[in-house]
Symmetry: C2
Subunit: 681 residues, 2 copies
């Protein structure tokens, strides 16, 4: 009695015995080995490529003979001539098992490929998108047993791929018959299977094997910018990333001003909805062009956004979000059709997934951060802040996650700052002030040199030095504090008090001069007392939100802080902590997650299980509404001081000088909202 | 120990004991008595009206005292003042059971009202539409437990009505929040629950109790006309019926000419799709106006149509239906959105149901006839023919049902007939020829008198006598046969042979003059030899189709014949049988079902269970394709004789004279297609 050959698959380690002549693909399927195939074993798609190993495999207890697999057959030869097989590779559907063998499945042949994110985090995305391709041979029509072409397609998909039920949009029906006949009843279909529905939707159909790919857009719809990643839904690769300004800015810079626009102007919400949908279509067209793909090959979009953007995207008047109790029209995730959002630039049958909102002020963007950063899986207590015009804040670990949002306003983005500007070439992004000389040196976007290095003037001649961006103003204010030019209350001292002529009077207050380019026709860049007040308001709101979550959690410190958001990536942790933006932790416990919301969108685009996961997660998050918590106001007031009026910041004090100065001349308060300052020694 | 009061409901006879103070509605629900309520017992909707009976009920063994129910309460008084309660009526949700009582539930208070069809058939339609109204109190938003308004609506619907899951179209979301607030969180929703989906769709929402109704359109989309019944989805009442010409006629009179138009003209199918959708919108607008309802209250449409109309409605090129193997793009039933078919005249979130097609030549119209006439439930063997430009034929009983279609052409509708016209005032619809004098008398549409009665001329003066409609030409040809003016082969005799000057020569053949109005400037109405040939072709196709089904079933006679179709309602059974249109049965076994396809559409509109039923039925029907059955041609040729060359028609011979005459002068055949006539004695 002979024994069937033993097959060991790597890297999975799965093994089993199969009769001589069993194709490798068949063996893989029976063992549950992750080996891809679009054509179902016809030797057409080449997705099932494997690498047999030969020789001694003591680990597996196998010696593999040269004739362990069948000889190359005609299908493999033809494929190799036409498109080329890498050396050592075989087609899993053609190579048959003859003797004991070790089979390696290379990463690109795995269905659930793992795509490593570009950002620093170790998190990988497992590919399991909602939309996939299937090659299928459809039974031809038979007059004696009449059925529809769609019904026969469904029957074949069930037989060949185990797809239980399909449905087709009306617009697909018009191409079904000609495509079936052009492909001689062999077709590739793109099927979308939502995690919320047992019925797969036929999104498109091509004669024969479709090889032009399948794409999706992960879209981070922000108040200011709309960013999109065009992603290959088969490999997970990002083919192009692009952004566009949110044209709603012309209706109002921040969220509340857009809500007001809608309240004051009947039909204003409709205008804003149209504007954002038009912009998304423009962006989709541009990004497809950049990646050199046909826009109709975009079959999915995933949106993350704050609640106001969410409602305006969906065509819902956001007026309820502007007043207590901040009721969302709908909070659950949604799976929609492209036409529901007038997305005409992509495939007309494309599907859209919108992540769930957490609360009236905590949107799908925050849900996406939670999906990307996974606070609920953190061993230690993590505080995640997504810094933007609005700050989304998550606090949590394995036991519990809390969330809130806090209206920081646009100061952190350089708006409402006298010399402020968006992050663009010419903007000061980093600054240091010498504690002795009180002289500044700085760096501008577009030039790697500091302003006191040789060649700086030449290299910045073209862009000029035009203003201060968000990260620049944070550093400037923190440096003023460390250099003793500004006191704990935020007051800038006079030239007399500070000993530097850079502190110049401006009305009843003082400004600090960073750079005067008026001689060259440029601007005079200063940090004014008003700028400090704007930053104080913003950072107090952020810190108060974090503290509120810490109160709810019953802690007064956190283990680590994650700065998310495109802007978060550029903030200097040390300077943020000097400002008191974030709670006191060791500096190496402050990390940046890059555009975590955008990453969350990409994860949801590439993995359908992630959609179910975040829907579940969002339900378990404890929502905290800052607008109605009386303690928020107390925390806000206490956080006005730099770094803080009462919280000790012991870790910060180890690394940063915080001179005890006071520039209040005993008179009235010069600007703070409801602050009750006392003079200090 | 006291016993709880006994309650007996009529007409159901359901009975039970309930604690003193139980509302009648509660008792009804616990017993499963069919008592309606939209407001869920709030005393608002008045749907739960009941009539208590007082006195001795020996049948039920109860004597009902005057105080068996609680006194009128304020809710009932207010309702009575505002809208009036019929004498003796109470609101079931308010009246409480105090002592033994008999409660009658009037028909209008039953959810599953039974609506008797207007037509002769005894079949009743039980109301159980897909779209229903629900009044619901929605939880108000709570900042401390943030959820969306939609999610709270879903929660309340589940709690109050047991609705498991809902989903809302994007366009509904934009009105959700204002309506909830206008109704102080009490709203009425229209929910559509398909029999194929567990999730109910929110089609519309109104503040408070919505009382303007809910309507649906049952649409019979024919090649020539589009007919619609505007139906109240609560009561089942038909509020208006209306028709419109199918504008596709300009692309071709019959189905195959439209298929040809599409083949010959690129984009021709798109033109025809647009034309028919536009017409449906026009019809919907007109019928709503006629019924004086708001078109946006139309929430459902149901379509029945033949396969070519089906495909053109759906935007599918019908080219495959014009050639073997006559493959349908899709055959299953469909539940669509109004926008899928560009139905802009009705509620934008309305749902459309299209009945399944049976085969490439046997459409959803035939399925609707099967739903209405239920051959599969017939004790005896029934032949059902839906007579139109195409004839749909069903043969069956409890054991098995077969179906085919047969291309009769438009002759039965008065087309291709020299004096033919559509059924309209002035058209001859009935005719008798005296076998002795060979003189005709006739009736025209718009006048009840026969042409030999006093006052006929005066009453027809306005319309004139303009032509012959479909039923008229059938009677004319049959009468010519019975009067001995035309022989079995269909030849009209000369004046000499027949002894009447009304047989006038026309080329090498003869015509029979029915009426000459040329003196008054009207037409000269004759039956020509060409007319006879057209009718012979049509009736042979019909009979051959029926015979083919009988062959498959293995029988040579049927028990009864049902004539369906608007035209079928006007055909004289006796004349149809003289022509040999239908197999020989006793005359009282030929009945008319009126517009059975339209009735089937109404049934599917009013009862969701009927949709599941017909989908099941259609799968079990044996489809017979006339175009490829060799025997069809033989049956067709044999059926050319009037009534038939070989079939004996014994029942017909009992009631109609069929003189043995022959007008063939021994020369060539004067017109028949492939007929091989022999001279008879």
């Amino acid at each position: 009695m002979t024994t069937d050959p033993l097959v060991v698959f790597t890297p999975s380690g799965k093994r089993g015995r199969f009769p001589v002549g069993t194709p490798v693909l068949t063996a893989a399927r029976q063992l549950g080995v992750d080996l891809d195939s679009v054509c179902g074993g016809r030797g057409i798609c080449s997705k099932c490529q494997i690498t047999p190993g030969y020789g001694e495999f003591s680990k597996h207890g196998i010696t593999v003979a040269d004739d362990a697999l069948s000889e190359w057959n005609k299908v493999e030869e033809r494929y190799d001539q036409k498109r080329g097989l890498k050396p050592g590779r075989r087609l899993g559907c053609q190579a048959q098992i003859l003797r004991d063998v070790v089979i390696d499945v290379p990463p690109e042949s795995q269905v659930h490929k793992q795509v490593v994110r570009k950002a620093a985090s170790a998190r990988v995305i497992e590919m399991d998108p909602a939309t996939k391709l299937y090659l299928v041979d459809v039974d031809e029509p038979d007059m004696h047993e009449p059925t529809g072409d769609l019904e026969r397609l469904a029957r074949s998909l069930k037989r060949e791929w185990g797809i239980e039920a399909i449905r087709a949009d009306v617009t697909l029906l018009s191409k079904l018959q000609p495509v079936l006949r052009k492909g001689k009843f062999q077709v590739t279909v793109a099927l979308h299977k939502s995690h919320q529905d047992d019925v797969a939707r036929v999104l498109d159909i091509w004669p024969g094997l479709h090889e032009s790919g399948l794409y999706g857009l992960a879209i981070d719809l922000g108040s200011t910018t709309i960013a999109a990643h065009l992603t290959d839904l088969v490999t997970g690769e990002v083919k192009a990333s692009s952004g566009i300004m949110n044209p709603q800015i012309r209706f109002g810079e921040d969220l509340m001003s857009r809500v007001s626009y809608s309240m004051m102007n009947p039909g204003g919400d409709k205008e804003m909805t149209k504007a954002v949908r038009d912009a998304i279509n423009t962006l989709a067209g541009e990004i497809a062009k950049e990646a050199e793909i046909e826009p109709h090959l975009i079959f999915e979009t995933v949106f993350v956004c704050n609640p106001v953007m969410h409602h305006l995207l969906l065509g819902i008047d956001p007026v309820e979000l502007g007043q207590a109790p901040f009721a969302l029209a709908t909070s659950d995730s949604m799976t929609l059709e492209a036409r529901d959002l007038d997305l005409t630039a992509i495939n007309p049958r494309a599907r859209t997934y919108i992540l769930p909102c957490i609360a009236g002020h905590v949107g799908a963007d925050c849900a996406a951060v939670a999906l990307s950063e996974e606070p609920g899986k953190s061993e230690d207590l993590a505080l995640i802040v997504d810094v933007g015009t609005n700050a989304e804040i998550l606090l949590g670990d394995r036991s519990r996650v809390l969330a809130c949002s806090s209206p920081t306003g646009p100061a952190f983005e350089g708006a409402q700052i006298s010399s402020g500007q968006r992050a663009a070439p010419g903007a000061i992004e980093a600054i240091r002030i010498d504690p002795e000389t009180k002289e500044p040196r700085f760096r501008v976007i577009g030039c790697d040199k500091w302003s006191d290095e040789d060649g700086f003037a030449e290299e910045t001649a073209v862009t000029g030095i035009t203003g201060i961006c968000g990260s620049g103003i944070i550093e400037a204010v923190a440096e003023l504090r460390m250099a003793g030019l500004m006191d704990e209350s935020g007051l800038i001292g006079s030239a007399e008090m500070t000993g530097t002529p850079r502190c110049i009077p401006e009305g009843r207050t003082h400004s600090y001069l960073i750079h005067d380019a008026t001689a060259e026709g440029g601007p005079r860049i200063t940090v004014t007392q008003g700028d400090i007040r704007a930053i104080q308001l913003a950072k107090s709101a952020l810190y108060a939100g974090a503290r509120l979550l810490m109160d709810q959690r019953g802690v007064d410190k956190v283990d680590r802080v994650v700065l998310a958001g495109a802007f978060g990536a550029h903030i200097s942790p040390k300077h943020a902590m000097v400002l008191g933006m974030i709670p006191d932790v060791p500096l190496d416990k402050v990390t940046s997650a890059g555009n975590a919301a955008g990453t969350g969108a990409r994860i949801a685009l590439c993995n359908i299980g992630a959609r179910a996961e975040i829907e579940q997660t969002v339900r378990q998050i404890t929502k905290v509404e800052t607008a109605i918590e009386p303690k928020f106001q107390d925390h806000f007031v206490a956080a006005n001081a730099i770094p803080h009026k009462t919280d000790p910041f012991p870790e910060l004090k180890k690394i940063a000088p915080l001179p005890q100065v006071s520039f209040n001349l005993g008179g009235g308060d010069s600007g703070g909202e409801g602050r009750r300052r006392r003079r200090r020694g």
